[in-house]
Symmetry: C2
Subunit: 228 residues, 2 copies
DNA sequence: TCCATAAGTGTTTTTTTTACACTTATGGAT
DNA sequence: ATCCATAAGTGTAAAAAAAACACTTATGGA
Protein backbone atom coordinates (compact mmCIF):
# COMPACT_ATOMS: atom_id res chain seq x y z
CA UNK A 1 0.00 0.00 0.00
CA UNK A 2 1.24 3.46 -0.66
CA UNK A 3 2.52 5.45 2.25
CA UNK A 4 2.15 9.18 2.23
CA UNK A 5 0.47 11.49 -0.14
CA UNK A 6 3.07 11.73 -2.85
CA UNK A 7 3.97 8.17 -3.69
CA UNK A 8 1.15 7.04 -5.93
CA UNK A 9 2.29 5.22 -9.00
CA UNK A 10 -0.20 5.48 -11.84
CA UNK A 11 -0.85 8.73 -13.63
CA UNK A 12 -4.19 10.02 -12.56
CA UNK A 13 -6.63 10.30 -15.46
CA UNK A 14 -9.75 11.72 -13.95
CA UNK A 15 -11.62 14.67 -15.31
CA UNK A 16 -13.25 17.13 -13.01
CA UNK A 17 -16.46 18.94 -13.82
CA UNK A 18 -19.09 21.05 -12.13
CA UNK A 19 -22.78 20.54 -12.75
CA UNK A 20 -25.35 23.17 -11.84
CA UNK A 21 -28.79 22.52 -10.50
CA UNK A 22 -30.61 25.71 -11.36
CA UNK A 23 -33.82 26.38 -9.49
CA UNK A 24 -36.51 28.82 -10.51
CA UNK A 25 -40.01 29.48 -9.24
CA UNK A 26 -42.98 29.88 -11.50
CA UNK A 27 -46.70 29.40 -11.28
CA UNK A 28 -46.37 28.24 -7.68
CA UNK A 29 -44.07 25.41 -8.61
CA UNK A 30 -40.38 24.89 -8.13
CA UNK A 31 -38.69 24.44 -11.48
CA UNK A 32 -35.36 23.31 -12.83
CA UNK A 33 -33.49 24.53 -15.87
CA UNK A 34 -32.23 21.62 -17.97
CA UNK A 35 -30.46 21.39 -21.28
CA UNK A 36 -31.18 19.09 -24.14
CA UNK A 37 -28.08 17.06 -24.62
CA UNK A 38 -26.96 17.42 -28.21
CA UNK A 39 -24.02 15.09 -28.22
CA UNK A 40 -23.18 11.48 -27.53
CA UNK A 41 -23.39 9.60 -25.30
CA UNK A 42 -27.02 9.77 -24.26
CA UNK A 43 -27.76 12.29 -26.97
CA UNK A 44 -31.33 13.52 -26.81
CA UNK A 45 -31.78 13.08 -23.08
CA UNK A 46 -31.95 16.00 -20.72
CA UNK A 47 -29.11 17.01 -18.51
CA UNK A 48 -27.86 19.48 -15.97
CA UNK A 49 -25.56 22.04 -17.41
CA UNK A 50 -21.92 21.43 -16.62
CA UNK A 51 -18.39 22.17 -17.69
CA UNK A 52 -14.93 20.97 -16.96
CA UNK A 53 -12.98 22.96 -14.43
CA UNK A 54 -10.14 25.14 -15.62
CA UNK A 55 -6.63 24.37 -14.44
CA UNK A 56 -6.38 27.62 -12.54
CA UNK A 57 -10.00 28.04 -11.71
CA UNK A 58 -11.47 27.90 -8.23
CA UNK A 59 -14.32 25.43 -7.92
CA UNK A 60 -16.80 28.13 -7.01
CA UNK A 61 -15.67 30.23 -9.94
CA UNK A 62 -16.21 27.35 -12.30
CA UNK A 63 -19.76 26.95 -11.04
CA UNK A 64 -20.41 30.65 -11.49
CA UNK A 65 -18.96 30.54 -14.98
CA UNK A 66 -21.24 27.71 -15.99
CA UNK A 67 -24.25 29.56 -14.69
CA UNK A 68 -23.17 32.77 -16.37
CA UNK A 69 -22.62 31.06 -19.71
CA UNK A 70 -26.08 29.68 -19.67
CA UNK A 71 -28.10 32.48 -18.15
CA UNK A 72 -26.07 35.64 -18.51
CA UNK A 73 -26.53 36.13 -14.78
CA UNK A 74 -23.77 37.05 -12.38
CA UNK A 75 -23.47 37.31 -8.61
CA UNK A 76 -26.01 34.61 -8.17
CA UNK A 77 -26.18 32.79 -4.88
CA UNK A 78 -24.78 29.28 -5.25
CA UNK A 79 -24.02 26.47 -2.88
CA UNK A 80 -21.94 23.39 -3.31
CA UNK A 81 -24.13 20.35 -2.85
CA UNK A 82 -22.19 17.14 -3.20
CA UNK A 83 -19.51 15.50 -5.28
CA UNK A 84 -20.43 12.51 -7.40
CA UNK A 85 -17.61 10.18 -8.19
CA UNK A 86 -18.57 6.61 -8.91
CA UNK A 87 -15.98 5.25 -11.32
CA UNK A 88 -18.57 4.42 -13.97
CA UNK A 89 -21.03 7.26 -13.50
CA UNK A 90 -20.28 8.89 -16.86
CA UNK A 91 -20.24 6.43 -19.73
CA UNK A 92 -17.91 8.64 -21.76
CA UNK A 93 -15.04 8.28 -19.34
CA UNK A 94 -13.99 8.92 -15.80
CA UNK A 95 -15.49 12.19 -14.68
CA UNK A 96 -15.96 13.33 -11.13
CA UNK A 97 -18.58 16.01 -10.85
CA UNK A 98 -19.08 18.57 -8.15
CA UNK A 99 -22.68 19.76 -8.05
CA UNK A 100 -23.77 23.27 -7.19
CA UNK A 101 -27.25 24.56 -6.74
CA UNK A 102 -28.33 28.03 -7.79
CA UNK A 103 -31.50 30.01 -7.52
CA UNK A 104 -32.39 32.45 -10.24
CA UNK A 105 -35.25 34.70 -11.22
CA UNK A 106 -36.98 33.32 -14.24
CA UNK A 107 -37.79 36.90 -15.20
CA UNK A 108 -34.16 37.93 -15.43
CA UNK A 109 -32.23 35.30 -17.28
CA UNK A 110 -31.10 35.78 -20.81
CA UNK A 111 -33.49 33.85 -23.01
CA UNK A 112 -31.33 34.06 -26.10
CA UNK A 113 -28.44 32.46 -24.33
CA UNK A 114 -30.69 29.84 -22.89
CA UNK A 115 -32.19 28.91 -26.20
CA UNK A 116 -28.71 28.53 -27.64
CA UNK A 117 -28.29 25.65 -25.22
CA UNK A 118 -31.72 24.22 -25.93
CA UNK A 119 -32.50 24.76 -22.31
CA UNK A 120 -35.96 24.41 -20.85
CA UNK A 121 -37.65 24.80 -17.51
CA UNK A 122 -39.28 21.74 -15.93
CA UNK A 123 -41.44 21.54 -12.88
CA UNK A 124 -39.63 19.39 -10.33
CA UNK A 125 -42.47 16.93 -10.19
CA UNK A 126 -42.48 16.47 -13.91
CA UNK A 127 -38.87 15.96 -14.83
CA UNK A 128 -37.80 14.21 -18.02
CA UNK A 129 -35.34 11.38 -18.09
CA UNK A 130 -31.89 12.64 -17.17
CA UNK A 131 -28.46 11.44 -18.24
CA UNK A 132 -26.08 9.51 -16.03
CA UNK A 133 -26.64 10.13 -12.34
CA UNK A 134 -28.16 13.56 -12.79
CA UNK A 135 -31.39 12.39 -11.23
CA UNK A 136 -29.53 11.58 -8.03
CA UNK A 137 -27.94 14.99 -8.15
CA UNK A 138 -31.28 16.68 -8.54
CA UNK A 139 -32.85 14.71 -5.72
CA UNK A 140 -29.97 15.52 -3.44
CA UNK A 141 -30.22 19.21 -4.29
CA UNK A 142 -33.97 19.31 -3.69
CA UNK A 143 -33.63 17.55 -0.35
CA UNK A 144 -30.95 19.97 0.64
CA UNK A 145 -32.93 22.97 -0.52
CA UNK A 146 -35.91 21.85 1.52
CA UNK A 147 -33.78 21.56 4.60
CA UNK A 148 -31.89 24.82 4.07
CA UNK A 149 -34.95 26.84 3.26
CA UNK A 150 -36.22 26.37 6.82
CA UNK A 151 -33.07 27.63 8.48
CA UNK A 152 -31.67 30.27 6.18
CA UNK A 153 -33.18 33.02 4.06
CA UNK A 154 -31.99 31.55 0.77
CA UNK A 155 -35.48 31.24 -0.66
CA UNK A 156 -35.62 35.01 -1.16
CA UNK A 157 -33.25 34.44 -4.06
CA UNK A 158 -36.20 33.01 -5.93
CA UNK A 159 -38.27 36.17 -5.55
CA UNK A 160 -37.79 39.67 -6.99
CA UNK A 161 -36.48 42.30 -4.54
CA UNK A 162 -40.04 43.43 -3.83
CA UNK A 163 -42.56 40.73 -3.09
CA UNK A 164 -45.79 40.18 -1.22
CA UNK A 165 -46.39 37.84 1.68
CA UNK A 166 -48.82 35.70 -0.31
CA UNK A 167 -46.05 35.30 -2.89
CA UNK A 168 -43.52 34.37 -0.22
CA UNK A 169 -45.89 31.86 1.29
CA UNK A 170 -46.68 30.34 -2.09
CA UNK A 171 -42.95 29.99 -2.65
CA UNK A 172 -42.49 28.09 0.58
CA UNK A 173 -45.47 25.92 -0.17
CA UNK A 174 -44.05 25.18 -3.60
CA UNK A 175 -40.61 24.32 -2.30
CA UNK A 176 -41.78 22.25 0.65
CA UNK A 177 -44.75 20.84 -1.23
CA UNK A 178 -47.08 21.29 1.68
CA UNK A 179 -49.78 23.72 2.74
CA UNK A 180 -48.87 26.30 5.34
CA UNK A 181 -51.24 28.15 7.65
CA UNK A 182 -51.36 31.80 6.63
CA UNK A 183 -51.50 33.25 10.10
CA UNK A 184 -48.80 31.05 11.56
CA UNK A 185 -46.58 31.75 8.59
CA UNK A 186 -46.93 35.50 8.93
CA UNK A 187 -46.37 35.43 12.66
CA UNK A 188 -43.10 33.57 12.26
CA UNK A 189 -41.96 35.84 9.46
CA UNK A 190 -42.66 38.97 11.49
CA UNK A 191 -41.02 37.58 14.61
CA UNK A 192 -37.74 37.41 12.78
CA UNK A 193 -37.78 41.07 11.96
CA UNK A 194 -35.91 41.31 8.68
CA UNK A 195 -38.67 42.24 6.26
CA UNK A 196 -39.43 45.90 5.64
CA UNK A 197 -42.94 46.78 4.62
CA UNK A 198 -43.25 49.24 1.77
CA UNK A 199 -46.02 51.77 1.21
CA UNK A 200 -46.75 50.09 -2.04
CA UNK A 201 -49.19 47.41 -3.02
CA UNK A 202 -49.11 44.81 -5.70
CA UNK A 203 -52.56 44.98 -7.28
CA UNK A 204 -51.96 42.33 -9.91
CA UNK A 205 -53.05 39.30 -7.93
CA UNK A 206 -56.15 40.50 -6.13
CA UNK A 207 -58.71 43.25 -5.86
CA UNK A 208 -57.57 44.27 -2.44
CA UNK A 209 -53.92 44.22 -3.32
CA UNK A 210 -51.09 42.93 -1.13
CA UNK A 211 -48.40 45.04 0.45
CA UNK A 212 -44.90 44.70 -0.91
CA UNK A 213 -41.98 43.83 1.31
CA UNK A 214 -38.23 43.76 0.97
CA UNK A 215 -35.73 41.45 2.58
CA UNK A 216 -33.23 43.51 4.55
CA UNK A 217 -29.98 41.63 4.67
CA UNK A 218 -28.45 43.89 7.30
CA UNK A 219 -31.39 43.30 9.63
CA UNK A 220 -31.04 39.58 9.11
CA UNK A 221 -27.31 39.63 9.80
CA UNK A 222 -27.90 41.20 13.21
CA UNK A 223 -29.72 38.20 14.56
CA UNK A 224 -28.97 35.50 12.03
CA UNK A 225 -31.98 33.73 13.37
CA UNK A 226 -34.18 32.01 10.85
CA UNK A 227 -36.81 29.42 11.49
CA UNK A 228 -39.80 28.59 9.38
CA UNK B 1 -17.09 30.93 -24.35
CA UNK B 2 -17.31 27.23 -24.75
CA UNK B 3 -20.60 25.69 -25.67
CA UNK B 4 -21.41 22.21 -24.46
CA UNK B 5 -19.58 19.86 -22.24
CA UNK B 6 -17.06 18.43 -24.64
CA UNK B 7 -15.39 21.36 -26.28
CA UNK B 8 -12.90 22.55 -23.69
CA UNK B 9 -9.50 23.28 -25.13
CA UNK B 10 -6.76 22.95 -22.53
CA UNK B 11 -5.78 19.60 -21.12
CA UNK B 12 -7.03 19.39 -17.62
CA UNK B 13 -4.24 19.02 -15.10
CA UNK B 14 -5.96 18.74 -11.79
CA UNK B 15 -5.26 16.07 -9.24
CA UNK B 16 -8.05 14.64 -7.18
CA UNK B 17 -7.59 13.48 -3.63
CA UNK B 18 -9.66 12.48 -0.65
CA UNK B 19 -8.85 13.65 2.87
CA UNK B 20 -10.29 11.95 5.91
CA UNK B 21 -11.36 13.66 9.08
CA UNK B 22 -11.21 10.84 11.60
CA UNK B 23 -13.10 11.37 14.83
CA UNK B 24 -12.60 9.47 18.02
CA UNK B 25 -13.88 9.92 21.54
CA UNK B 26 -11.70 9.70 24.58
CA UNK B 27 -11.71 11.06 28.09
CA UNK B 28 -14.96 12.89 27.42
CA UNK B 29 -13.49 14.84 24.56
CA UNK B 30 -13.93 14.59 20.83
CA UNK B 31 -10.61 13.87 19.18
CA UNK B 32 -9.12 13.87 15.73
CA UNK B 33 -6.47 11.59 14.27
CA UNK B 34 -3.80 13.59 12.46
CA UNK B 35 -0.56 12.63 10.79
CA UNK B 36 2.78 14.32 11.06
CA UNK B 37 3.64 15.42 7.58
CA UNK B 38 7.02 14.02 6.68
CA UNK B 39 7.48 15.57 3.28
CA UNK B 40 7.62 18.96 1.65
CA UNK B 41 5.90 21.30 1.34
CA UNK B 42 4.91 22.17 4.87
CA UNK B 43 6.99 19.34 6.27
CA UNK B 44 6.65 19.01 10.01
CA UNK B 45 3.13 20.40 10.25
CA UNK B 46 0.16 18.21 11.00
CA UNK B 47 -2.28 17.11 8.40
CA UNK B 48 -5.35 15.06 7.67
CA UNK B 49 -4.61 11.78 6.05
CA UNK B 50 -5.31 11.70 2.35
CA UNK B 51 -4.54 9.97 -0.89
CA UNK B 52 -5.03 10.46 -4.57
CA UNK B 53 -7.98 8.74 -6.08
CA UNK B 54 -7.39 5.75 -8.30
CA UNK B 55 -8.44 5.95 -11.93
CA UNK B 56 -11.04 3.25 -11.49
CA UNK B 57 -11.85 3.86 -7.91
CA UNK B 58 -15.19 5.14 -6.61
CA UNK B 59 -14.85 8.18 -4.41
CA UNK B 60 -16.31 6.40 -1.41
CA UNK B 61 -13.97 3.49 -1.95
CA UNK B 62 -11.00 5.81 -2.01
CA UNK B 63 -12.05 7.28 1.32
CA UNK B 64 -12.44 3.82 2.79
CA UNK B 65 -9.06 2.78 1.47
CA UNK B 66 -7.38 5.76 3.07
CA UNK B 67 -8.99 4.99 6.39
CA UNK B 68 -8.10 1.33 6.13
CA UNK B 69 -4.47 2.04 5.29
CA UNK B 70 -4.12 4.17 8.35
CA UNK B 71 -6.19 2.33 10.91
CA UNK B 72 -6.60 -1.20 9.66
CA UNK B 73 -10.35 -0.71 10.12
CA UNK B 74 -12.95 -1.67 7.57
CA UNK B 75 -16.68 -1.13 7.22
CA UNK B 76 -16.45 2.11 9.07
CA UNK B 77 -19.24 4.61 8.71
CA UNK B 78 -18.09 7.52 6.55
CA UNK B 79 -19.78 10.56 5.10
CA UNK B 80 -18.71 12.90 2.39
CA UNK B 81 -18.41 16.38 3.81
CA UNK B 82 -17.37 18.91 1.20
CA UNK B 83 -15.03 19.36 -1.71
CA UNK B 84 -12.28 21.92 -1.42
CA UNK B 85 -11.02 23.31 -4.67
CA UNK B 86 -9.50 26.74 -4.53
CA UNK B 87 -6.89 26.89 -7.27
CA UNK B 88 -4.07 27.67 -4.86
CA UNK B 89 -5.12 25.66 -1.85
CA UNK B 90 -2.24 23.19 -2.10
CA UNK B 91 1.13 24.85 -2.61
CA UNK B 92 2.53 21.76 -4.31
CA UNK B 93 0.18 21.99 -7.28
CA UNK B 94 -3.42 21.93 -8.26
CA UNK B 95 -5.22 19.45 -6.07
CA UNK B 96 -8.93 19.29 -5.48
CA UNK B 97 -9.75 17.41 -2.32
CA UNK B 98 -12.95 15.71 -1.33
CA UNK B 99 -13.25 15.42 2.42
CA UNK B 100 -14.85 12.54 4.26
CA UNK B 101 -15.51 12.22 7.94
CA UNK B 102 -15.26 8.93 9.80
CA UNK B 103 -15.89 7.85 13.33
CA UNK B 104 -13.78 5.12 14.84
CA UNK B 105 -13.28 3.46 18.18
CA UNK B 106 -9.98 4.44 19.62
CA UNK B 107 -9.84 1.04 21.24
CA UNK B 108 -9.96 -0.81 17.98
CA UNK B 109 -7.62 0.80 15.54
CA UNK B 110 -4.30 -0.72 14.66
CA UNK B 111 -1.68 1.14 16.62
CA UNK B 112 1.24 -0.24 14.66
CA UNK B 113 -0.17 1.01 11.43
CA UNK B 114 -0.94 4.32 12.97
CA UNK B 115 2.54 4.80 14.32
CA UNK B 116 3.96 4.05 10.90
CA UNK B 117 2.24 7.22 9.74
CA UNK B 118 3.33 9.20 12.78
CA UNK B 119 -0.29 9.69 13.55
CA UNK B 120 -1.54 11.15 16.80
CA UNK B 121 -4.85 11.93 18.44
CA UNK B 122 -5.64 15.54 19.29
CA UNK B 123 -8.52 16.94 21.24
CA UNK B 124 -10.53 19.12 18.91
CA UNK B 125 -10.06 22.13 21.10
CA UNK B 126 -6.33 21.74 21.14
CA UNK B 127 -5.40 21.16 17.54
CA UNK B 128 -1.92 21.84 16.19
CA UNK B 129 -1.28 23.96 13.15
CA UNK B 130 -2.52 22.19 10.06
CA UNK B 131 -1.31 22.29 6.48
CA UNK B 132 -3.06 24.08 3.66
CA UNK B 133 -6.79 24.47 4.23
CA UNK B 134 -7.10 21.45 6.49
CA UNK B 135 -8.26 23.67 9.33
CA UNK B 136 -11.25 24.74 7.23
CA UNK B 137 -11.94 21.11 6.45
CA UNK B 138 -11.87 20.18 10.10
CA UNK B 139 -14.14 23.04 11.10
CA UNK B 140 -16.61 22.14 8.41
CA UNK B 141 -16.61 18.50 9.52
CA UNK B 142 -17.13 19.42 13.16
CA UNK B 143 -20.00 21.76 12.34
CA UNK B 144 -21.57 19.08 10.26
CA UNK B 145 -21.07 16.43 12.90
CA UNK B 146 -22.72 18.64 15.50
CA UNK B 147 -25.72 19.12 13.25
CA UNK B 148 -25.99 15.48 12.19
CA UNK B 149 -25.61 14.07 15.64
CA UNK B 150 -28.92 15.65 16.66
CA UNK B 151 -30.90 14.08 13.83
CA UNK B 152 -29.29 10.74 13.15
CA UNK B 153 -27.81 8.02 15.32
CA UNK B 154 -24.30 8.37 13.92
CA UNK B 155 -22.76 9.15 17.30
CA UNK B 156 -23.11 5.51 18.29
CA UNK B 157 -20.22 4.82 15.95
CA UNK B 158 -18.01 6.43 18.53
CA UNK B 159 -19.03 4.00 21.26
CA UNK B 160 -18.44 0.27 21.65
CA UNK B 161 -21.45 -1.96 20.92
CA UNK B 162 -22.31 -2.05 24.62
CA UNK B 163 -22.35 1.24 26.41
CA UNK B 164 -23.94 2.93 29.37
CA UNK B 165 -26.23 5.95 29.35
CA UNK B 166 -23.75 8.08 31.26
CA UNK B 167 -21.22 7.26 28.54
CA UNK B 168 -23.66 8.16 25.82
CA UNK B 169 -24.52 11.41 27.48
CA UNK B 170 -20.86 12.29 27.99
CA UNK B 171 -20.33 11.61 24.31
CA UNK B 172 -23.06 14.03 23.33
CA UNK B 173 -21.76 16.60 25.76
CA UNK B 174 -18.30 16.21 24.31
CA UNK B 175 -19.44 16.52 20.72
CA UNK B 176 -21.82 19.40 21.30
CA UNK B 177 -19.59 21.00 23.91
CA UNK B 178 -22.47 21.77 26.20
CA UNK B 179 -23.99 20.36 29.36
CA UNK B 180 -27.13 18.29 29.00
CA UNK B 181 -29.74 17.59 31.66
CA UNK B 182 -29.53 13.96 32.64
CA UNK B 183 -33.26 13.40 33.02
CA UNK B 184 -34.26 15.19 29.85
CA UNK B 185 -31.58 13.34 27.94
CA UNK B 186 -32.74 9.95 29.15
CA UNK B 187 -36.37 10.73 28.49
CA UNK B 188 -35.65 11.62 24.90
CA UNK B 189 -33.49 8.57 24.38
CA UNK B 190 -36.14 6.24 25.75
CA UNK B 191 -38.92 7.89 23.74
CA UNK B 192 -37.20 6.87 20.56
CA UNK B 193 -37.19 3.26 21.42
CA UNK B 194 -34.10 1.83 19.77
CA UNK B 195 -31.90 1.05 22.74
CA UNK B 196 -32.10 -2.36 24.33
CA UNK B 197 -31.21 -2.62 27.97
CA UNK B 198 -28.98 -5.52 28.93
CA UNK B 199 -28.94 -7.39 32.24
CA UNK B 200 -25.38 -6.40 32.61
CA UNK B 201 -23.73 -3.53 34.41
CA UNK B 202 -20.51 -1.71 33.78
CA UNK B 203 -18.92 -1.42 37.22
CA UNK B 204 -15.78 0.35 36.10
CA UNK B 205 -16.98 3.90 36.40
CA UNK B 206 -18.90 3.92 39.64
CA UNK B 207 -19.71 1.98 42.77
CA UNK B 208 -23.31 1.55 41.82
CA UNK B 209 -22.56 0.52 38.29
CA UNK B 210 -24.48 1.57 35.18
CA UNK B 211 -26.59 -0.65 33.00
CA UNK B 212 -25.29 -1.47 29.56
CA UNK B 213 -27.35 -0.82 26.46
CA UNK B 214 -27.12 -1.70 22.80
CA UNK B 215 -28.21 0.29 19.80
CA UNK B 216 -30.66 -1.80 17.79
CA UNK B 217 -30.43 -0.72 14.19
CA UNK B 218 -33.56 -2.63 13.12
CA UNK B 219 -35.61 -0.88 15.79
CA UNK B 220 -34.28 2.46 14.62
CA UNK B 221 -35.06 1.72 10.99
CA UNK B 222 -38.71 1.14 11.83
CA UNK B 223 -39.32 4.71 12.87
CA UNK B 224 -36.26 6.51 11.59
CA UNK B 225 -37.08 9.18 14.08
CA UNK B 226 -34.18 10.76 15.87
CA UNK B 227 -34.14 13.94 17.80
CA UNK B 228 -31.82 14.94 20.62
C1' DT C 1 -21.56 0.21 59.71
C1' DC C 2 -20.78 4.32 57.59
C1' DC C 3 -19.49 7.15 53.81
C1' DA C 4 -18.55 8.80 49.27
C1' DT C 5 -19.81 8.51 44.57
C1' DA C 6 -22.17 8.23 40.49
C1' DA C 7 -26.75 6.09 38.70
C1' DG C 8 -31.27 6.46 38.38
C1' DT C 9 -35.98 8.54 38.56
C1' DG C 10 -41.09 12.60 37.80
C1' DT C 11 -43.22 16.73 37.91
C1' DT C 12 -43.94 21.58 36.90
C1' DT C 13 -43.14 25.59 34.08
C1' DT C 14 -42.13 27.69 29.95
C1' DT C 15 -41.80 27.92 25.16
C1' DT C 16 -43.06 26.58 20.71
C1' DT C 17 -46.22 24.86 17.51
C1' DT C 18 -50.60 24.02 15.70
C1' DA C 19 -55.43 24.66 14.84
C1' DC C 20 -58.99 27.56 13.68
C1' DA C 21 -62.81 31.89 11.38
C1' DC C 22 -64.04 36.30 10.57
C1' DT C 23 -63.30 41.20 8.67
C1' DT C 24 -61.45 44.27 5.09
C1' DA C 25 -60.22 46.48 0.79
C1' DT C 26 -60.89 46.75 -3.85
C1' DG C 27 -62.39 46.21 -9.01
C1' DG C 28 -65.78 44.96 -11.87
C1' DA C 29 -70.53 43.95 -12.86
C1' DT C 30 -75.25 45.43 -12.51
C1' DA D 1 -74.36 53.95 -6.44
C1' DT D 2 -74.72 49.32 -4.86
C1' DC D 3 -73.61 44.74 -4.74
C1' DC D 4 -70.61 40.92 -5.20
C1' DA D 5 -66.64 38.05 -5.61
C1' DT D 6 -61.95 37.51 -4.29
C1' DA D 7 -57.86 37.34 -1.97
C1' DA D 8 -55.52 40.02 2.01
C1' DG D 9 -55.14 40.57 6.50
C1' DT D 10 -55.68 39.68 11.55
C1' DG D 11 -55.68 37.03 17.19
C1' DT D 12 -56.55 33.49 20.45
C1' DA D 13 -56.77 29.05 22.52
C1' DA D 14 -55.20 24.28 22.78
C1' DA D 15 -51.60 20.98 22.35
C1' DA D 16 -47.02 19.53 22.17
C1' DA D 17 -42.23 19.98 23.07
C1' DA D 18 -38.49 21.63 25.73
C1' DA D 19 -36.41 23.19 29.85
C1' DA D 20 -35.78 23.54 34.73
C1' DC D 21 -35.29 21.36 38.86
C1' DA D 22 -33.78 17.60 43.68
C1' DC D 23 -33.96 13.60 45.90
C1' DT D 24 -33.25 8.36 46.39
C1' DT D 25 -30.53 4.20 45.45
C1' DA D 26 -26.89 0.82 44.90
C1' DT D 27 -22.39 -0.30 45.77
C1' DG D 28 -17.22 -0.63 47.19
C1' DG D 29 -14.06 0.66 50.27
C1' DA D 30 -12.75 2.70 54.66
Amino acid sequence: MTVGLRKHKEIQQIKLAVDCIIFGFNDNRLELLLIHRGFEPEIGKWSLIGEFIGNDEDLDDAANRVLYDLSGLQNIYMEQVKTFGKANRDSSGRVVSITYSAMILKSEYNEEQVSKYNAKWFSIDDLPELVFDHKDMVEMAIMRLRRRVRNTPIAFNLLPPKFTLPQLQALYEGILDEAIDKRNFRRKIFQMDFLVKLDEKDMSESRKGAYLYQFDKALYEKEQYFNL
